[in-house]
């Protein structure tokens, strides 16, 4: 895509849980630069704490 004047080249995503990661990956897949900011020392959020997810019982991490 042509460079559009007057627009920054990145998106700020606040929160590194499942939703933040998903939004960041979708933006990145469309060639958008992403700053993924997470308050805690690691990505993962709540979902990383869960054991399995219903109804597929897939591993949550």
């Amino acid at each position: 895509m042509a460079k559009q004047p007057g627009k920054a080249g990145a998106v700020l995503v606040l929160g590194g849980g499942i939703t933040g990661i998903q939004a960041a990956l979708d933006l990145a897949a469309s060639d958008v630069k992403v700053y993924l900011v997470e308050r805690s020392p690691s990505l993962g959020g709540r979902m990383a704490q869960l054991d399995k997810t219903f109804p597929t019982m897939d591993c949550a991490i």
């Binding site: 627009k7 920054a8 939703t19 990956l25 900011v37 997470e38 979902m47 704490q49």
Partner: protein
């Protein structure tokens, strides 16, 4: 998580927070404060030596305090980044004491006690707020004794207990005596749906019902001897895709008893630490005390504690529950009160994982409109390809992985051993092969020793193969000449106690890796051009949202609608909850926007055929043919037709909620049905839903719709009764509306599917309804001028049959299209390049359909914003000279990759479409003549591994 950490377009800033924010959409300046980590991310390899040497032990937050960690730690084993962090509050190194253990143990000098952090100023075009929720602190409800009684756990604590890497290694024991509990109580709505002072939030936390049902099944799986699980609840809210079916399965568990009622208190036996749960079963009216060994509280979700501050920094508003407020005028759940700032998931209220994921993709689509996209980061000119002809010269690189491998395996002896394997030209070992230094060393040695095959004996290819392949590519060695042997997970980790045997196994694995490497062939990723346009099928809310988002990103969009007009079902509705927006107005604005845009709208059009694959679909319609690169299916669903259920066909005054909506649509203010204001209206829920005869799932939209209609009628003075099985308040503010309806005097009466209400009437009119009141154990006789059936959603059979036939998108047992993954891929399908939006994948409300429309647009844009799509070369190919055109491969492939092609003179051979093939190898293993070869996993490669494993064992 790993993907985000590795993506070249994503810069991960952990331990950081937004402190200042100014500017306009498209041009914001965000100041992010990176708090000190005291460990350099670029130097730390995550070896864990520092943790071993740290003397301080504190409770681990990740294990909700049930496990322990050191003062220098990694939050959990799979953390991204895998950099350690020092918790300075607990670290011994303060102004007076010096411990320095971690600094001294680190070989790479990554520890820096003087780290001050940093402040970064970032130019961004848009913001996505995805800060999630906090867990309600159950100790605020003293009557349940959480925090006082040892054996009262929260649901998050139970999750950690169930986890194999958790504090009890997956064994369920009660905290007081470490014994396996025989009887466990699950208590729902702790901190949710609160009444009164000490009861927490008024809304429904949505995730807890299904989470607790899942935990019941898992508890049974972990401890088969469990005797009884008692589940206390108010309404069973199984409202997502496949959730109702999951709940129904749990009903077959003999150990699980469901009790409808909210316990008033729990008391602990001071000696045995057993618990007594006091509860009134509202179905029987019986008050009882139930003794259990352990209780699990389903703690609800509350707004994040940092929301206040973040809202202030971002300049956006919060709602009354301190979640980020959604601007109601769009009808969509993604817009905050500030343009350019979007919200998704639980930051704006409670959603389950799959809805959160849809919203995240949707928010990404919204944000994309405000940024300039940059070409993918490929600034380095590729190196000229190395000459790899001639006999194999294999290089073997052994990684210590800190102490992960070298702590168990005898790496020195492995090095010596590898040098003796035929065709091995060079062997080297390294402390961390994946580190920058290790990778540079590998590249130098490949060039120096003219290595043309490389084997790394290290960790898992799942995380590190791409790193090593990339390093090979950088110096011109074809990345498919690299082979990885996982001696960490498969040797040192699983055979920690028997180092000699582990080392022997590593020898075998390295030998077989070299054997395969000798036969590796260079492979090349092919790029195929992408047609940069999209087809959206269906002109309802989901389809219109997808088309508008794609168009706003500058894409060419075709929007096809079977009917003569856009707007779908939305145009027939009156008001849309929760903000009471005019549905017609919402639809009108969207239709106007579409008309004013460059979207090519084709109404009254049907699809005849679609062929091709991702990037290159040929579409034939009743209105002309065209090519697109991606397809969004948004064809919606049908409303169930009740037939003779509840005498719908017989009595004129038994109508569906859709028919009532039409009536309310035409009446302003006063409720007037056929010239008369009704005195008594009775709703019956779950008609055509939650039933194995019709739709086994929950239709989600009907409870909130009934509540909305009941409030409208009640406000006009009508007596309203709602007969239901569970009231399921899915969607923003729905629980609050339910409460409001009860306050207005709408009567909610529960029935069971075994004893349905009876509609009784005369001639052509229903007159009254008989329903059994469960707690009173009495038949109620309710007069009814109108009976409204809450008819569920069913798949539109003709459309879905046809689309399934054309596009091979699979459907679930309920007849709706199936998502790629129920949680993580709600708008994707297993057919690459084909996406789903709205009710085509199961019932949804307007807000969810809008979010999914945007989400599907984000996914589609990711494909068609590029000129080409690269194909993975590890696919199957046919050697035509061996093919006898039996067609076995054509029938067995799930991806429709093989096909028989006419070669003239009546000769046919199979050909495999590389764009469709996933390289699974099923056809190659089956092919009777051996004509099909799975590249990178050829018979020659696999056989050479087996030969050396079985014949050369030392």
């Amino acid at each position: 998580m790993m993907d985000a950490g590795r993506h070249p377009n994503i810069e991960v800033l952990t331990n950081s927070e937004l402190v200042r924010f100014e500017g306009k959409p498209g041009n914001f300046t965000a100041t992010v404060r990176r708090h000190p980590r005291y460990v350099d991310e670029n130097l730390c390899t995550g070896c864990g030596q520092c943790v071993h040497d740290c003397p301080v032990i504190v409770p681990n937050e990740f294990e909700v305090g049930m496990g322990a960690r050191k003062a220098i730690y990694s939050p959990f084993p799979q953390a991204v980044p895998n950099t350690y962090i020092i918790d300075r509050e607990n670290c011994l190194n303060d102004d007076f004491l010096v411990c320095n253990n971690c600094m001294n143990s680190c070989d790479r000098n990554a520890v820096n006690y003087d780290d001050l952090g940093a402040e970064l100023r970032l130019a961004v075009g848009a913001v996505v707020v995805a800060t999630g929720f906090d867990v309600y602190n159950a100790s605020a409800i003293p009557s349940y004794g959480y925090g006082l009684y040892d054996n009262v756990l929260s649901n998050i604590e139970l999750e950690r207990v169930l986890n194999a890497s958790g504090p009890t290694r997956g064994h369920i024991v009660r905290p007081s005596d470490k014994k396996v509990p025989k009887k466990i109580a699950f208590i729902q709505c702790v901190g949710s749906r609160g009444e009164g002072k000490e009861a927490g939030c008024q809304y429904c936390s949505r995730y807890c019902c299904m989470n607790a049902v899942k935990d019941c099944l898992l508890v049974k799986q972990h401890e088969p001897d469990i005797e009884e699980l008692v589940f206390f609840y108010i309404d069973m809210r199984a409202a997502g895709r496949g959730f109702e079916e999951f709940y129904q399965r749990s009903l077959e568990m003999p150990e699980l008893t469901y009790v409808r009622g909210r316990p008033s208190k729990i008391l602990e036996d001071a000696v045995t630490k057993d618990l007594m749960v006091y509860v009134e079963d509202v179905e029987t009216g019986q008050v009882s005390r139930i003794k259990v060994d352990m209780a699990v509280l389903s703690t609800g979700a509350v707004a994040g504690e940092t929301n206040n501050r973040l809202a202030e920094v971002l300049g956006i508003s919060l709602d009354e529950n301190k979640f980020f407020e959604v601007d109601p005028k769009y009808g969509s759940p993604l817009h905050t009160s500030r343009e350019g700032v979007y919200v998704c998931g639980c930051a704006a209220g409670i959603n389950d994982i799959s809805d959160s994921v849809s919203q995240a993709s949707g928010a990404a689509a919204e944000a994309e409109k405000f940024v300039t996209k940059s070409p993918p980061a490929q600034e380095v000119e590729p190196a000229p390809e190395m000459d790899t002809s001639g006999p194999p010269r294999v290089g073997v690189f052994l990684c210590h992985c800190g102490i992960n491998i070298a702590g168990v395996l005898d790496v020195e002896s492995l090095k010596e051993y590898a040098q003796g394997i035929p065709d091995v030209a060079f062997v080297e070992e390294n402390l961390f092969l994946c580190s920058d230094e290790g990778q540079r060393l590998m590249q130098e040695k490949i060039a120096e020793h003219r290595l043309n095959r490389v084997v790394a004996a290290a960790c898992t290819p799942r995380t590190h193969e791409p790193v090593f392949r990339e390093s090979c590519q950088q110096i011109g060695l074809n990345p498919y000449l690299f082979e990885m042997v996982n001696v960490r997970d498969q040797c040192s980790w699983v055979h920690t106690g028997v180092p000699e045997i582990a080392t022997a196994k590593a020898r075998d694995m390295i030998r077989s890796g070299v054997a395969k490497a000798r036969h590796l062939q260079p492979l090349y990723r092919k790029s195929i051009p992408v047609n940069q346009s999209a087809l959206v099928v269906g002109g309802g809310v989901g389809g219109m949202a997808a088309a508008l988002e794609l168009e706003a990103q500058g894409m060419k969009v075709y929007l096809i609608e079977q009917q003569g007009r856009l707007g779908g079902r939305l145009i027939n509705l009156t008001r849309v909850y929760p903000a009471n927006l005019s549905a017609f107005e919402l639809a009108r604005v969207m239709v106007e926007k579409i008309k004013a845009s460059r979207v090519e709208v084709m109404t009254g059009t049907e699809i005849n055929a679609i062929s091709g694959f991702v990037g290159n679909f040929d579409v034939a319609t009743t209105n002309g043919n065209f090519k697109v690169g991606t397809i969004v299916l948004a064809t919606g669903a049908d409303i169930y037709k009740p037939g003779d259920e509840f005498s719908y066909d017989r009595f004129e005054n038994v109508i569906t909620n859709q028919e009532l909506e039409d009536i309310l649509h035409d009446t302003k203010g006063k409720i007037d049905i056929h010239g008369q204001t009704p005195e008594n209206v009775v709703f019956i829920q779950c008609v055509g839903s939650r039933s194995s005869d019709t739709n086994p799932g929950c239709s989600r939209y009907c409870c909130p719709t009934t509540i909305k209609q009941a409030i409208r009628l009640r406000e006009s003075g009508v007596n309203v009764a709602v007969l239901h099985r569970d009231m399921r308040t899915v969607g923003a503010k729905a629980e609050e509306h339910y409460r409001h309806a009860r306050e207005l005097g709408v009567k909610f009466i529960r029935f069971t599917p075994e004893r349905l209400p009876r509609v009784i009437g005369n001639g052509k009119a229903a007159e009254r309804i008989e329903v059994k009141e469960l707690a009173l154990d009495r038949i109620l006789d309710i007069p009814a001028d109108y009976v409204v059936l809450a008819a569920g959603m069913v798949p539109n059979k003709a459309t879905t049959d046809k689309l399934q036939d054309i596009l091979k998108v699979p459907r679930a047992a309920d007849g709706f299209f199936m998502e790629r993954h129920a949680k993580l891929g709600p708008v994707e399908t297993t057919t690459e390049g084909v996406f789903l939006a709205g009710c085509v994948s199961g019932p949804k409300d307007i807000a969810d359909s809008l979010a999914q429309g945007a989400a599907a647009a984000a996914k589609a844009a990711a494909i068609i914003s590029h000129d080409t799509v690269a194909l993975e070369p590890t696919t199957c190919v046919v050697r035509p000279e061996l093919c006898r055109a039996c067609g076995e491969c054509v029938g067995m492939c799930d991806y429709h990759a093989p096909g028989l092609v006419d070669k003239g003179d009546g000769v046919q051979v199979a050909e495999i479409n590389q764009a469709l093939c996933k390289g699974c190898g099923t056809c190659a293993s089956w092919c009777p003549t051996g004509a099909i070869v799975a590249l990178h996993f050829t018979d020659e490669q696999i056989n050479s591994m087996l030969d050396t494993l079985l014949l050369d064992r030392v």
